[in-house]
């Protein structure tokens, strides 16, 4: 039974979604319990599958039982790195689904079943991307997660979300198509689709590895993934898509979609092409790190200019993507940059979840979307504020939150790799984050309580629906329990991830050690 866990991670939410398709339209009260139960099952299986990888090293799960020769069938591969990510995805999904327990408006209840089906299928896609060992299968699962996320963005009632979703769809499809084309070039040059097998060919067969076709394949795959993760020049779709979509969707999309794309990039560099091949091309590393520096600075500066909480967070995501891409490309001798980037994927998923849950609570229960409306927040909503403060401190990088340690490892990589510009950008961005969040703290602590003379602007912008039937009065009250649980749990996990950073870093580095190419690099 235990060998079956890797498959069970995906199958639980898949069957959950199908079950909702069968019964959810007739009885929408059944949707939440099914979704919650299936995500808990996949969290348990992810824990089990990852534990096996932590203790026994990476292992394969052969779909269909076809083991020999390698690559005739699709392989699921679990190692320490994606084991950690699987757990993180499952945790974020479980917490985000708790937040959606009450639909946000009367009109939305019609679409509850569709929402949960898309939600679960998105989780299926993300789990699949993380665990698969086949380059083409990765494309199919990227498309599963992409199509569901278009639906989750467009499911809102706001007027602008459809347009945002359309742009997201165009960009996302182009990104996925570039990836597909890159895999086609790889297949043409190597005749294989299995990631392990392609890697073996590229390390043993130098004529293939150095041919222009393989170089182009890498560029195509890289650009495709960059579009998907909203890396700097290609980030245009992200702020609109994530800030105009309903709160329930953004709590799942914002923490996970971009982070999983970063994981795919790391996986492509580490397992598909191999670090020696990637860094064997002089100049690439410097170029990408400079791009990342621009991404960090641009994201931070644009975040400063925003008045809305969600939009500000979206631009911070753009900056965070810069951290991770830059970190992964630092090419420092001890791979601290790559380690820090991998750790930051986990840390950033939790931080973003925490902050988007906070923004979701404010918007869903109080209709607040502007930073200026937060006056008196700390006094009226102490528990919500605690969660928010921890998330914000992690974003700034204050110890002992996880954000501090990821920045610590990234900076260490930057120094050892000889990239002072990256270190500088990281510090400036931390400073900007501090300015941003302390401005919010100040308003929330000293600002006037909006209950006194607050002119509540209905339907500001186009978030459209005011979902709080009785809460037309703008009085801030503590959020309901089912919204507080995920927020505080996320905050607690941020602290835990920070406190146990040593063990987690060790696990991540065993994953690098497992791929034989980097062992020499590590010593």
């Amino acid at each position: 039974m235990l060998e079956q866990l890797p498959a069970l991670i995906l199958l639980a939410p898949l069957f959950g979604a199908l079950l909702i398709g069968l019964v959810g339209l007739h009885d929408r009260r059944a949707c939440f319990p099914i979704a919650f139960a299936s995500l808990v099952v996949s969290l348990a299986s992810a824990l089990g599958a990852a534990m096996r990888a932590f203790t026994g090293g990476a292992y394969n799960y052969f779909i269909g039982g076809w083991e020999e020769p390698l690559g005739i069938s699709i392989v699921l591969r679990v190692d320490a790195l994606n084991g950690l990510l699987l757990i993180a995805i499952a945790v974020v999904a479980v917490l985000a689904v708790i937040f959606t327990i009450r639909p946000s408006s009367e009109k939305d209840t019609d679409k509850t079943a569709y929402f949960y089906i898309l939600f679960l299928l998105l989780c299926v896609g993300l789990f699949g991307i993380t665990i698969t060992g086949d380059a083409f299968n990765l494309f199919v699962l990227i498309e599963v997660s992409a199509l569901t996320s278009y639906g989750l963005v467009a499911i809102g009632t706001s007027r602008r979300c459809k347009m945002a979703a359309f742009h997201y769809l165009l960009m996302g499809t182009v990104g996925a198509s570039f990836y597909l084309l890159g895999v086609g070039y790889l297949y043409l040059k190597t005749g294989s689709l299995n990631i392990e097998d392609i890697n073996t060919i590229l390390t043993t067969n130098a004529t293939v590895a150095q041919s222009p076709g393989i170089v182009t394949a890498f560029l195509l795959i890289l650009v495709g993934i960059w579009i998907k993760m909203a890396f700097f020049p290609l980030y245009g779709w992200l702020p609109n898509a994530y800030s105009y979509c309903p709160s329930g969707s953004s709590c799942l999309l914002a923490p996970l979609m971009t982070k999983v794309s970063v994981y795919v990039m790391i996986r492509v560099m580490l397992s598909l092409f191999g670090l020696e091949w990637v860094f064997g091309h002089p100049g690439w590393s410097d170029l990408v790190v400079w791009l990342a520096v621009i991404a960090i600075l641009a994201g931070s500066i644009m975040a400063l200019a925003q008045r809305e909480i969600k939009r500000m967070l979206c631009y911070l995501i753009v900056a965070e993507i810069g951290y991770m891409v830059g970190g992964a490309w630092l090419n420092d001798p001890n791979l601290w940059g790559l380690t820090g980037a991998s750790y930051h994927i986990l840390a950033d998923a939790l931080m973003t979840l925490c902050l988007f849950l906070f923004a979701g609570i404010l918007f869903k229960y109080h209709g607040i979307s502007e930073i200026g409306d937060l006056g008196g927040l700390f006094k009226k909503m102490p528990l919500t504020s605690i969660g928010f403060v921890i998330g914000a401190l992690a974003m700034i990088g204050v110890p002992p939150t996880s954000g501090f340690f990821s920045k610590f490892y990234l900076i260490r990589g930057g120094i050892e790799g000889g990239h002072p510009e990256y270190v500088g950008a990281l510090l400036i961005s931390s400073l900007v984050n501090a300015v941003l969040f302390f401005r919010i703290f100040e308003i929330a602590y000293f600002g006037k309580n909006p209950a006194d003379g607050h002119s509540h602007d209905h339907g500001h912008d186009s978030h459209g629906h005011d979902d709080h039937g009785e809460a037309a009065s703008p009085v801030l009250r503590e959020a309901p329990t089912y919204a507080l649980i995920p927020l505080l749990a996320a905050a607690a996990l941020i602290l835990l991830l920070g406190i146990f950073n040593g063990q987690i870093i060790e696990l991540i580095r065993t994953a690098f050690g497992n791929s034989a190419i980097v062992v020499s690099n590590l010593r």
Binding site: F136, L169, Y187, S462
Partner: protein, 153 residues
């Protein structure tokens, strides 16, 4: 010019065709103002990739990847040998597998076609809703109307 066509383009003409088609798609995806035309560009873009993949599996003189199947009996197998088109290898190396095209790209592209159709369906649905909300599918007008929406609020 002729030499260039013969030496560079001809052996790789399938790749040249796919690159040109793909660039037509990409151009209309970026440059066109109408959302439906953008979608058409997207469709051309994806079809070009499908063309690329399918052309990978082509072998000279090979047939479709459906085995010449006559059951298990020996006499039927003997009969099959009389049909040269199906079983005779065409390559000088004499590998019997050369009689059949490579099935893998076909399988992959079946998947990609379905994905493309699904994406276009969602894009159409979005266009329909955008038209219902804003009464236009021209991007510049849409952006103007959205901006007005923002300023009103």
């Amino acid at each position: 010019m002729v030499e260039f066509l013969l030496n560079t383009v001809k052996p790789h003409f399938n790749f040249w065709v796919y690159v040109i088609l793909m660039m037509i798609g990409l151009w209309s995806l970026i440059a066109k103002n109408n959302l439906i035309k953008k979608m058409m560009g997207l469709a051309i873009f994806q079809s070009a990739i499908i063309l690329f993949y399918v052309s990978l599996g082509v072998k000279d003189g090979a047939t479709i990847p459906v085995l010449d199947y006559h059951g298990e009996h020996a006499d039927h197998n003997a009969a099959a040998k009389d049909e040269p088109a199906m079983t005779l290898p065409t390559s000088s190396a004499g590998n019997p597998a050369d009689a059949y095209a490579n099935p893998v790209p076909h399988v992959l592209m079946l998947t990609a076609i379905v994905v493309g159709v699904a994406t276009l369906g969602v894009a159409l649905a979005l266009c329909e809703m955008i038209f219902k909300e804003f009464d236009t599918l021209e991007e510049d007008e849409l952006l103007r109307k959205i901006k007005a929406l923002h300023d009103d609020a």
